[in-house]
Symmetry: C2
Subunit: 556 residues, 2 copies
């Protein structure tokens, strides 16, 4: 069988296990670009389905734990809404309705029988990026060669989620190889941004971004090696968390660049609230994941960290610093406005906001991109060769997708790779000192508490135009945990009008400027990310809550 | 100037700053092999010098803090004894008498003026392996090219030691490149084992091993990527600790294989008591080293860990497991007897002792050795080329030292390196599961608490014969913290007689057996290492104290 045939057969079988009454006829599917509120008006969802899927994760968990809502009901509601999301944005890969409903029933029976929940996520449907390994389910990450090769074992995060009481029900779309800032592959096709389907969801956790934005999942699990959680969260207007290296287990998942031990891919959550992220991290750490994955640091949830003990305590005035421009590519007016809104909100809430001076951001990105490129061509070629499928070279629907893939760098010897990794370490040292020295610029007596940064120099761009990883990858290079927060606004053609500009940091800066037109980004949400120092994950979640509360208060 | 000339000039200047009255005339130097107790009878040391240098670290710190002994006095005593150690075993590289005495005086004045100590190591002389960077002092690690290129800044561990109140006074001998299991280079020559100078000190922290064994230092700092702290500690009969990755800062030190990010070199202490190791770790962590080195995990000293909270509490019956034989090279009768003594001592102290089943130890060692070899030839060649010195190819005094260096593996591409690192990760996963499953074999309801292992299949071997890294490197591959403890016995020609044996695990096993003769290892100390799971550093120190106390009690 040709690889094209294999891919087509797999795609055709995707909805096989889904009850027909959960699916819209082609003719009834909307044609407009913005489908973000389509589910609310769809006859497929009952009032209860809508109430459940629009509920906050806290309410969901309470109502599941009190048996006000059964897990069967909650799972069914999210399954139905996820099918709608799939029909609208093509955000899913594997769908396992029967297995999910059977698991939900088991959990309901357990609660009835014992009076107690299995764990803190009892009965909650949780969606997973395609790479996560579920025993008996494919994890192709868009590789045709991996069709029909279901995982032999659960990955560590899957085992833990099940111990916590979660119900797994769908896996979500990714780019072929995972290593792209958009979401497209030759098995499942392209994921679309629900706010404007001419725009990308970002990648590689793009399916999660779209699914969660459409409330087809209350909590999703993605991964991030260069922005793969944060770009989809930002482009789709959801929350997303890139934890520090080695807090959340990655063992057993599929992926590219396996064995690349220098800039680690991390697993983290996406959700429609910051609470969703915090609940996930706390729950996973409660299961002592270092006993399941040897790379995980033996460190429990740090309540002192969350209480900001090293930041003056929970009610202290904090000093945030804003990265307005990384000195390589200046963010668009849309992105700048998102930062402005955040600054005003934080100042209104009584916090100090200063400017962050970027240090070698282009080098931070290029060094890591070259580390990836040192072996990635051979890595993806080895898998592609198994099926004969070509490697996708462009995500642009109007370009030749089989063109040779462009990498920032090329194959290297181990010794050459070590020289890049040595440079990377020196950059981390310089950046740590740089951060420490900000104590001279704050009024708090402490260095800057957290940085507010763009996630990209643009909001969700059209398909094929997501290329800039520099505003995301510096956090991967430096291992700075970071949380994406939607600002609560969307692109505005008047407020975000193009401004005259004649001097540019770089050719890429000029290209980005020349491309800019707010009409191109119609309806895209504005987002920022909050960034803390390595392993300050708990403090970061607390400092992000302050940002999030300030933004919500300012919007009122 | 030729490289030979540069090396000779550097060596000639080594004792330039040392008062003549601290040095023995050549004619008065001993000629016997065992010089371990020579200092006690040397007229160079006063009764007070002897009292100070034979004191435990706890007594030293108490008497320094109470000003019973000035730091000037203590530093002088250790300097004098270190000079004797140097003349006996060639264990030093850089010696900075004036600087050390000036610093000691400063600390004495501080204590007099303020009534309080600078930190928990106030006034204590601390020796450093040559690679540690002290501003203004060479750190050649035996490379002629690096002569006369003093460090521009202190390394992070040096800054921290000074903040803690330590007095730095000497650096200690290492092999050229650091990557050898013995200690010899063309600047400073060969370090000799004080128990029998025909034997090696081990390497690469061999100078530390000899210096501490001779009580020329109360606390030394080494580093370990494949046994470099533990082999010298074991061969010289001192205590030594290999912490988990990224607890103790390494920033700023000289070294080989920089940028090799997969199997990390760690910094750790050597001392004449377990207390010395614990005091070092606790003191360094108190300075929040993650604010100085971005690779350091944000994790304070874990008092719960030290109280064995996850091992049944401080007074619980523990289960130790003994690794008698790794299935690749069987330990000599000497090493076996060390394990037997430990087993009896632990059982007498009321603990359970079972057998440890090794899992793929040859592969654990070979995989890491090949990771090192992937780029190390280019790495060392690049530095050697700067001076024209050849790379040492053998540490055997009777062999051609300029022969091509033998590596287990060879240069690789980045992609090939990643495949090894992927294998290494899988081995770590298997070993974690293997350990977890020992819960079925213990009577404690927990998996094995700690493993007791040889450090090498032999005790200190003759110069040029230290080749086996397999009993040390498995802890580096798996990132298991490990502490070397002297058993309290030495080689005994009768008790350690050669046993008949006809079946062998491997050619290396047979070679090691054929070589064995207790006379070859005359007077070498017996040692074991205690091994815990990743990041259980604090618990390991507590579990090692139980082993150490049991051994001391058994010896009474």
């Amino acid at each position: 069988m040709t690889w094209q045939q294999l891919a087509a057969d797999k795609k055709k079988a995707q909805l096989d296990g889904v009850p027909k009454e959960w699916l819209l006829d082609e003719a009834n599917l909307p044609t407009q670009n913005d489908v973000s509120s389509f589910p609310q008006s769809s006859a497929l969802l009952s009032a209860l389905d809508l109430e459940i899927t629009q509920s906050s994760i806290t309410v969901l968990l309470e109502n599941l734990a009190s048996a006000k809502w059964s897990s069967l009901q909650v799972t069914t509601s999210f399954l139905k809404r996820a099918m709608l999301a799939q029909q609208l944005t093509n955000c899913l890969t594997e769908i396992f309705v029967d297995r999910a409903l059977a698991r939900a029933k088991e959990l309901d029976e357990h609660l009835k029988r014992t009076g107690s929940v299995v764990g803190p996520l009892h009965g909650l449907p949780v969606s997973l990026k395609d790479q996560m390994a579920i025993k008996g389910v494919d994890n192709t990450i868009g590789y045709i060669a991996w069709i029909g090769k279901p995982a032999a074992e659960n990955g560590a995060i899957v085992d833990i989620l099940e111990e916590l009481g979660a119900v797994l029900y769908v896996k979500t779309n990714v780019p072929q190889t995972l290593v792209w800032l958009e979401t497209f592959n030759h098995i499942f096709g392209r994921a679309l941004n629900p706010h404007n389907r001419t725009l990308t969801t970002g990648g590689s956790s793009g399916g999660e971004g779209a699914l969660i934005a459409l409330h087809g999942s209350p909590l999703g699990v993605g991964s991030d090696i260069a922005g793969s959680i944060r770009l989809p969260a930002a482009f789709c207007g959801t929350y997303g968390f890139r934890p520090s290296y080695h807090r959340i287990p990655t063992r057993g998942g599929a992926g590219s660049l396996k064995g690349q031990d220098s800039v680690s891919s991390v697993v983290g959550p996406l959700s429609n609230s910051l609470d969703g992220l915090t609940i996930f991290v706390k729950a996973v750490l409660s299961k002592r994941p270092w006993l399941k994955d040897p790379l995980i640091i033996r460190k429990s949830w740090d309540e002192d960290g969350y209480n900001l003990v090293e930041h003056g305590g929970p009610n202290a005035k904090l000093c945030y610093a804003i990265l307005w421009d990384d000195g390589f590519v200046r963010p668009d007016p849309t992105v700048h406005r998102g930062l402005e809104i955040t600054k005003k909100a934080l100042e209104a809430a009584g916090h100090e906001v200063i400017d962050w001076k970027p240090l070698k951001h282009a080098q931070l990105g290029l060094t890591t991109a070259k580390i990836f490129a040192a072996g990635s061509e051979e890595d993806v070629a080895a898998v592609a060769a198994l099926s004969g499928e070509p490697i996708i070279g462009s995500m642009d629907p109007e370009a030749d997708i089989w063109q040779k893939r462009k990498l920032m760098g090329g194959p290297l010897s181990a010794y050459q790779l070590w020289q890049l990794q040595k440079t990377k370490r020196e950059l981390r040292e310089e950046y740590l000192d740089h951060w420490t020295q900000t104590v001279k610029e704050t009024s708090t007596g402490r260095p800057v508490d957290a940085i507010i940064s763009p996630v990209a120099p643009y909001v969700a761009p059209p398909h094929g135009k997501s290329w800039n990883l520099f505003y995301a990858i510096w956090c991967n290079t430096l291992d700075y945990p970071s949380v994406v927060v939607p600002v609560g606004a969307k692109v505005d053609p008047v407020l975000d009008a193009k401004q005259p500009r004649t001097e540019f940091h770089s050719d890429l800066d000029k290209q980005n400027y020349d491309r800019y037109d707010p009409a191109l980004y119609e309806n895209a949400p504005l987002s920022i990310q909050v960034v803390a120092r390595t392993m300050e994950d708990e403090a970061l979640l607390a400092m992000t809550k302050i940002v999030d509360d300030a933004l919500r208060a300012a919007a009122r």
